[in-house]
Symmetry: D2
Subunit: 327 residues, 4 copies
């Protein structure tokens, strides 16, 4: 199935990914990791939650750590709409697609619509989150990898064609993709709303699961500083893959695992894609530089490990996953 | 006059600044400067024009060098619309504002509407420019400052309040601004369409004139490499100001002058502003860190020199320009 | 007077500069500046002294902050010899040059010979300083500019020819120098023992005074991070000059003033000079790129301000200092 | 056997490693690799040789590419002495150690003594090499990884204890080492003359063979630029290991193979070791961070592949090499 033509006039306007809520076992252990090592700033904390933002974010949070009996699962992926009306339009839209919707109470983020995508991934949409003072020039606060903002989600999908069609319908546009020549099926796709390479990506595999959430830093030096820090503060085994550069997206990357096994990508580079006539780049599944322009081969865990969404069952992909894993 | 509320639903959709046409005396001298020193790639050249793009741009050109009897003047500032229909809507819109419009023939960029803003700055809008193959991963081509993309225009305006109101009306949103407390007039403002700090900025002064066009690079190292190169290849006197960091926009900057005196900013940092509820940051005209978070004071030339738009007369500002120039 | 031929077999072997003792008014204020902003590590502190080292130094201290009634003066410049015998040879040597010598008690640094150079600059030599555990891989300790090691001293001399001859006699070798063509006198000279551009430099001016002590960092990014930090933590006025690149030494530099007016250079680049046949580079006093390969002109203070050595009188230079100060 | 006490007063004074002569199959192919990709400058070329230097080197060459029927072998390792007399002293010294010596004719490098070490590694010593003009400020010449200078050799030795003892005798000082606790034998050692971590290192294995020759660059960004360039110009398979950071030496490293299989390290970081009382750092053979502070595990080839010295037979090590290879 070819990549669908972009839907330039979707039913409602999602402007960008916004936040993720991660279930963790020990809030104190996780908080140390996200603040001392990664360098996030705390916006608020309660007995069961820690709300975090990166250095240039003015919204209240981009990461919520939630104490949970099911640590290592993901509660929800959050998105911000352009207008308040877009929430009502989204409500109608998702119902029309057969997805159930509900209005939920979320601290700090106003009216919030909870729904799910075609595979069951829990999504929430809001328009108005509390806005905080600007801290990007408070250089004394910068620590760890000095994260600037949340960049994207990447999920395992057991049917990438279906996932791409679903998100394409409400306006996500494909920037790069990999096709399996034999089956003519999509192997992976990167889709954006905010004008970069992606807000959301899908990779073939048992799904749905979150593969990683990524945060943007401006230079490879941020990543090297983080590696030096993690390697000498007891976190060396949390480094999973990298540094290296992907062919796809041209990203200089590092993948690490948080104390509960949530995979974090530190993502550097990216490029501007906001032209509506921006042509997606097609990659050959057999091109080894698709995955790794240069750098060590990814470990097996990187292809296999993902984190489940709370209460969402798994389905195996019908496409053989071995080609992508082979060296 | 306070900053106007953003117009979130303008009559037509401009997605970003796109290109500038600069009049030059000696095409060969200019070409050497833009390719060997700055590192632009040539998309096309004719007897009278050289078309250039930066390394991640897929559109045909972001800079046009044009042989001219009026070197050191600016021909036009170019913008890209979201859809082809937006061009017709823009035509109606600018006429309604009393600006004359015409459809002009521009190589490589399809149907193009030529008009002007409230001060007479010549603007052109198009939707469809020729698209070129991706070169951002052809690392053997990278040279000079390794520019990635055009970032913004900055113009002297003799009435910043009027300029901001005019661009606000068709959807440009203010991200940062400086107000003169005494007169309650805007001294300077930064306005965006594409989700960064600005596509267009205005500064108080004799206008309209182009203060500079800026190109984006990812790290301060790009700028330091350029300084080393310029300082040892005969271009040391083309370095005007920097490196330094602005308070406004948080940009790590360098200002240089091309062989005809067109000012180029090499711009690093920036931050994401696409939230419709992104609050503009207000700066005090008396805050010295507004201009220069750190770095040497700007030379007089930086406050006074700009390049005129072809055939557009100048008007002095009614606000005294001395405070901003004083050390 | 031409640069003297290097004395490759001096009477005693000085291996490198080692430390400086700076007199300060408020030990607590100075300590904050050197640790929180510059990132030095504390080796020891008493009521009247704070001992500091940079991140790769294994010797106990390279900076001593000393509470004093004469803040803003310099107590002594310290050097390390190759062997213990070298101290006795140095004792004989300096006495033969008519300089008085004495053995002084210095905590942490063993047998120490106090003497002075031809202009009266107090120098101390030791062989054995306490050695501390390696911390260069304790990345969690890195802060501020992340200084790696002390690099050099730079002093105003009222007779640069005499200063160069004096240090040349005990083995310091000239790497770069500036000559005043008219008078055929040395204007400035850079001299090393440890195989870099300099351990000690002299510049024409009222002397003797310390112009600055320099610390080495590996990349310009260290300096830019420091500028961002100082500019937003109340130290913006302590930034005196830079960043820029010197022609001489090819150093990417920043000059800052500590709370007592001691000038610190953060020094990046340098090159290897340990070949005994390494030819010094001669600079023309009229070459503006000698001082500044690129970057803003140095402020007047940079040419005029220095810190006196305790109890050492000043002598004006007989060479007119204006050429070097003129833009 | 413990690390021997440093010999601070050796019979002759070697100041640093100087150059390597590498045998290659196709001079044109090798020249392209060393100049276009690595960025070396050509000092001279003949039908059979290309002489290269890095950007801050004033000596005529640090790499000689030599057309040969035995490509992939190493002709000789070169060292520079402090004085001309040191050559005669070295002649006497090596003969006293039972090594044959001869005076050889080498273009550009004056009187040259050819001899060999205890394992047969061919070594040559000279004092006076042609000096070239300084090019470190000719920034237009910088290309590829922008190498600044040769840094060190690393050789497989079948008896590291014997190798260390041999080099220690003529003044090389150990900075870091790995001991096999079981056998109390040295597994690997790093030895210097010029005041950095090493001029020469030995690793246990079938020897003698050259493991790699290393060139120094100031920042990790040089290495990342090289990786991007190699990955997109047909050299991706020449990347063997890295980037990563060694525990030992704290080096940020990259290992690549030239067209004949000579291994090149691009080496960043290092630290100053010129204190005669600098204590060597001991590493535990079982500490995985010794090899890799962080980064992917080294491939098998990195442990096994080395290049032979012309005409020198191999001897297997008596220590089992498997522990170092195991993950």
């Amino acid at each position: 199935m070819p990549v669908p033509a972009p839907n330039l006039y979707p039913d409602f306007n999602t402007i960008r990914l916004s936040h993720v809520c991660l279930n963790v076992k020990d809030l104190s252990v996780s908080k140390t990791f996200y603040t001392d090592i990664l360098g996030f700033q705390i916006s608020d904390e309660t007995r069961d939650h820690v709300y975090l933002r990166a250095m240039e974010e003015r919204g209240h949070h981009s990461v919520i750590l939630q104490r949970s009996d099911a640590p290592g699962t993901v509660e929800v992926l959050g998105f911000k709409t352009f207008d308040d009306d877009d929430l009502d339009k989204a409500d109608v839209y998702f119902q029309s697609k057969g997805r159930s919707t509900s209005w939920v109470d979320r601290p700090f983020q106003g009216r919030t619509l909870l729904t799910s995508d075609n595979l069951g991934i829990p999504l929430e949409f809001y328009h108005k989150m509390d806005r905080l003072e600007s801290i990007h020039q408070k250089y004394a606060l910068y620590r760890g990898v000095k994260p600037l903002r949340i960049d994207h989600f990447n999920c395992f999908s057991n049917d990438v064609d279906a996932s791409v069609a679903f998100y394409n319908d409400f306006g996500f546009r494909v920037t790069e993709y990999t096709e399996d020549a034999a089956s003519e099926k999509l192997w992976a796709a990167w889709m954006h709303r905010k004008g970069g390479v992606h807000d959301m990506a899908f990779t073939n595999g048992t799904g749905p699961r979150l593969h990683h959430v990524a945060f943007w830093v401006p230079t490879p030096m941020n990543i090297i500083d983080l590696l030096d820090l993690m390697a000498t503060t007891g976190y060396v085994s949390n480094i999973e893959r990298g540094p290296g550069r992907h062919g796809i997206s041209n990203a200089f990357f590092l993948y690490i695992l948080d104390p509960d096994g949530h995979r974090i990508e530190i993502y550097c580079s990216d490029y501007q894609t906001l032209d509506p006539d921006h042509e997606p780049i097609k990659w050959d599944l057999k091109d080894p530089q698709r995955q790794t322009l240069w750098g060590a081969a990814a470990p097996q865990s990187w292809f296999e490990h993902g984190t489940q969404f709370v209460g969402v069952g798994l389905v195996e992909s019908t496409i053989d996953a071995s080609p992508i894993i082979a060296p």
